[in-house]
């Protein structure tokens, strides 16, 4: 009788990376639906376009790197990256903007660093930051929520949107559908107080609900991921808390010049970042304690960049900055192990 010899353990949880990625994709559904509902078909088109590009680039680079293509394509990580980039890009962004972004994310930010699990920076955020700096016009032309366009559900039709993205429609046409985001309005208010800006701006006074709804949708997805134990609470909660606390402090002292904490939590990419971007395990800190530090630092940085920076939203830069700091955080956030009176610090051993 000859039986196999194996080292323990002999049973495994039927849990795969692909499964993890599928659940993440599933959790983005409410957010995608909300974006589509309030801002039209653009988001969906971008997602499909970015997803297709991501798979193609991934397959190509895997072939170049002589890695098993299907084995890696199946893990779904490229799709998640593409999706996160697509929902961050303005719905009417031209096709080539998305293409450049996906290329940078998949080929440069991920595979040139060694592929899945080896990239020090969040690929979607690298791509987003690059696009924002390279194509500021295309990247800041966000769509106005449909409520500002009139009665019913006055969004651009699917075919028109497709035409706009792939370049067959005049700029003038979709200019009527675009508008500033609440963060833009508050950032470029030219000396008005917060309240004055609020009253003056249509987006803030009437359209803000769209952003609240989208943020709520992302939050729902996040709760789902927490429930399924795909992510842990440490990074998202500490980020949201840090952002809220920073905003409260400044709003409490000077409500004329600073936005209220709820505004910070419910607009821009705050919720998307908290549950889908900073929870990217590869580029974040390792331990639970490390993730708390990592998340809180991002929260503070987002507030700083939003309030005093050049860009209306600072998620991408905040995340990239903290990605850079993650290995250092790891050195000083080892948990206290069983039987030890305190946790070990530093790198240990020779460098």
């Amino acid at each position: 009788m000859s039986l196999i010899r194996m080292s323990s353990p002999h049973v495994y949880k039927t849990n795969t990376t692909a499964n993890v990625m599928r659940l993440v994709l599933l959790a983005t559904l409410p957010g995608i639906l909300a974006l589509t509902f309030f801002f039209g078909w653009g988001t969906l088109i971008q997602i499909v376009w970015a997803g297709a590009l991501a798979l193609a680039f991934e397959a190509a680079i895997l072939k170049l790197r002589r890695r098993p293509i299907m084995f890696y394509l199946n893990d779904g990580s490229a799709l998640v990256t593409a999706l996160l980039l697509a929902v961050a890009i303005p719905p009417f962004a031209p096709w080539w903007v998305t293409a450049v972004g996906v290329f940078v994310a998949i080929v440069i930010a991920k595979h040139l660093y060694g592929g899945l699990g080896q990239n020090p920076f969040n690929p979607a955020m690298v791509a987003y930051a690059l696009l924002l700096i390279s194509f500021p016009v295309e990247m800041t032309r966000w769509t106005a929520p449909f409520v500002l366009n009139g009665e019913g559900w006055p969004v651009a039709s699917f075919m028109d949107t497709l035409g706009a993205i792939f370049g067959s429609v005049e700029h003038v046409w979709y200019d009527s559908f675009t508008g500033a985001t609440p963060l833009d309005e508050l950032r470029h208010r030219s000396g008005l107080t917060t309240e004055e800006t609020w009253r003056q701006s249509l987006v803030l006074s009437q359209g803000i609900g769209a952003w609240h709804a989208v943020s709520a949708a992302w939050f729902m997805g996040g709760i789902f991921l927490l429930y399924r134990k795909i992510i842990t609470w440490h990074a998202p909660i500490s980020m949201l808390l840090a952002l809220a606390i920073s905003a409260t402090l400044f709003y409490g002292f000077d409500p004329d010049n600073y936005a209220d904490p709820f505004f910070h939590l419910s607009t821009g990419a705050t919720m998307l970042a908290a549950f889908f971007i900073i929870t990217d395990p590869v580029s974040s800190a390792t331990s639970n304690r490390g993730r708390i530090i990592f998340g809180a630092s991002i929260g503070v940085l987002i507030f700083i960049i939003r309030t005093w920076g050049n860009y209306p939203d600072g998620v991408a830069f905040a995340v990239l900055l903290m990605n850079l700091a993650a290995p250092f955080i790891d050195l000083y956030s080892q948990p206290r192990s069983y039987g030890h009176s305190q946790s070990n610090k530093g790198r240990g051993g020779k460098a």
Binding site: M6, S8, L116, Y338
Partner: protein
Amino acid sequence: MGKVFAFHGGIHPPENKKQSTRTPIRKAPLPKLLYLPLQQHIGMAASPLVNVGDRVLKGQMIAEPVGRISASLHAPTSGTIRSIGPHPVPHASGLESDCIVIESDGQDEWLEHKGLEDYTQLEPSALIEHIRRCGIAGMGGAGFPTDVKLHLGDDHIVNTLIINAAECEPYITADDMLMRERAHEILGGIRVISHLLKPSHIMIGIEDNKSHAIHTLESVLKGCDLNIDIRVVPTKYPSGGERQLIQLLTGLEVPSGHIPADIGIVCQNIGTTAAIYRAVHHGEPLISRIVTVTGDAVAQPQNLEALIGTPFADLLDAANVYENKLYRLVMGGPMMGVTIEHDQIPVIKTTNCIIAATIDEMPPAPPEQPCIRCNMCEQVCPVTLLPQQLYWFSKGREFDKAKHHNLFDCIECGACAYVCPSSIPLVQYYRFAKSEIRTEEAEQRKADHARERFEARQARLEREQEEKEARRKARAEEAARAQKARKSAETETTAAEPVQDINALKTAAAVARTKLKKAQKALDAARDSGEGDIPALEAAVQAAQTSSEQAQQALEKAEGAKPAAPAAVDTKQLKTAAAVARTKLKKAQKALDAARESGEGDLATLEAALKAAQESADQAQQAFEQAESGASTDAAAAGPDLKQLKTAAAVARTKLKKARDALKNAEDKGLEGLDKLRATLTTLEQKADEADKAYKDAESAAGASAAPAQAAPIDMKALKQQVSIMRTKLKKAEAALDGLEGDERTQAEQALEELRQRHAEADKAFKAAEQAQIDAAAAQGVDLKQLKIDAAMARAAVTKLERALAKTEEAQERTSIEAELVTARDKAEQLNKTLQQHEPA
């Protein structure tokens, strides 16, 4: 029920326990062959007490413990010892180990045995010894000899006894069934342990999925006088880990690198308590245990009471295994068990479960994917490690960092590997890293040990060397002191005797004689020519005669005063003296004959002189003969000195040759530093000549009369060579001169001049040596007078030249005169030396 704490992490794998608890514990059929590994426990392997062919009874001890941490082994049934040797055993390595094989006789005949009547009256050590002799070792997993843990009360204060009944691994129900069916045995065992350790608190930790067992235990414990708590803990793997259970029940952590007893806690497996009960109350050693046989590949999963040593095949048969469905055979639980490749592997004391799994039940692990640092492993780690970091460090062989991340606190429970979405076999990585680190450390220790030994040796050698040196120094000092003492004594004695410098006197006398002769000659010449100041010359002759006589007198006096014994027998001198005396005799004879023939002269005086000469010749001959007999004994002593001189001469010659080569080289290359080299060469030449001479002298002094003749040709040859070399050099230099111009030319010309001189010198020296040789050869019959005259002439020439030099002012002439002067001086010296050598004493 007390408070239950929590430990970090943990997982909830499918339990799969129900299928094996449907039927009560059944006795496994008696196997035909039993394989009993000598090592079923932690510590030293037991040592066999039986021989092949012996008949053993059930319960008879067949192997005894070796050392403190060891356990004995008993025959599980009656039968015959078939063999003692290697057989496959249940171990992760899959290696074979020594086993005692018993062929059962089917009678299952017990050795006479009975329990202890009242263990509470026994000395604790006697009770522990009884338990030790019953071969009881921990039945949970590690198999730690139980008696060692019961001894702990001696050096540890044990206040808490924890009975581990958690049984957290999926599939296993052996402890569950034991509690359900034999709760009173468990209680009995706990009483024994409690009697020995006297803990203030006893806790039974049990997972909440065993409600039947909990219920049974509760009913048994009702009204129990002991302070026993049943603590129900939530079902979570690995709550049954010793350290995790301690944390669950007490909230305390066992410090890393310590044992639970260090914080006053002792843990015992619940199966062990039942075994202790049977040993103490029935005198039954540990020969059987309850084994869960389960898995999808057996038809009737159940718990069997199996004899230790029963092959797995027998148990699988008892549970009706589906051979074709069997894919993986695991001993222990699915999380930490080991796979068994061979169904003849026996049940041992720690075998709690056999899982016969189908391929669907335990499929091979999917291929490993890249780690995405998802952090799930950290969430489940019961030791709060960072498994993914450990994985990266192990994979990257950064063992220092792995150690810094507390790799050695890992209990290898497999929870991290269980949850890993990338199917990374994390535990294997940790095992690899641990073994690598252990190997490294062992090597380090070895290296350190070797270094220490080397250093110790080095220190010892140094010490010895120093001691030796010290001894040597002491000896040297002693010798120096003795030497000093001797020397001072010697100087005292020599100081007492006035030194009679005979040699000096001799020289003085000779000089005086020479002067006299010179004066005489001058007078004769003056008389012949009829010119010059004859009276003055006469006065000078007179004065010279007087001084010569005086000198001669002084010499004679000194010689007369010289003690006979230390006449350190200069044989050569004596010989010469004898020869001289003979010559004088002959001369005197001749003179007498001539006088007789001519009929002129004072015949009587001549005859007297002849007689005197004869006497002196005889005396000299005698003295010589006497001395020679003494010298023959001295010759041996002279030998080494001679050799030394020869060596010195050879060395000098070698040096000379080298210097010459260097010079030649330098000359070939150019003119830089030539002068220096030349000076060196000259010095060396002189030295070599001196050495040669000294050697020759010594050789002749050694008494071998033939030696000088032999040595002379050598010297001649050398001189001849020298001359020829000089000639060559001269020619070369001349050739070189043609190619040069200006300052260099003048320099070169000078050098050439020098060379020419030296050549002339060498030539002269050669000729002089030739002459000297002839002189030496003729020493016996030398015309001493002639020699003396020659020497005087040479000296005169020197003086003349000196005067001429003083007068001359022209540079060129001066140089030529100087050259001549040098030659003349040399010649004079040479002659003087020869003269001194041959002059009679």
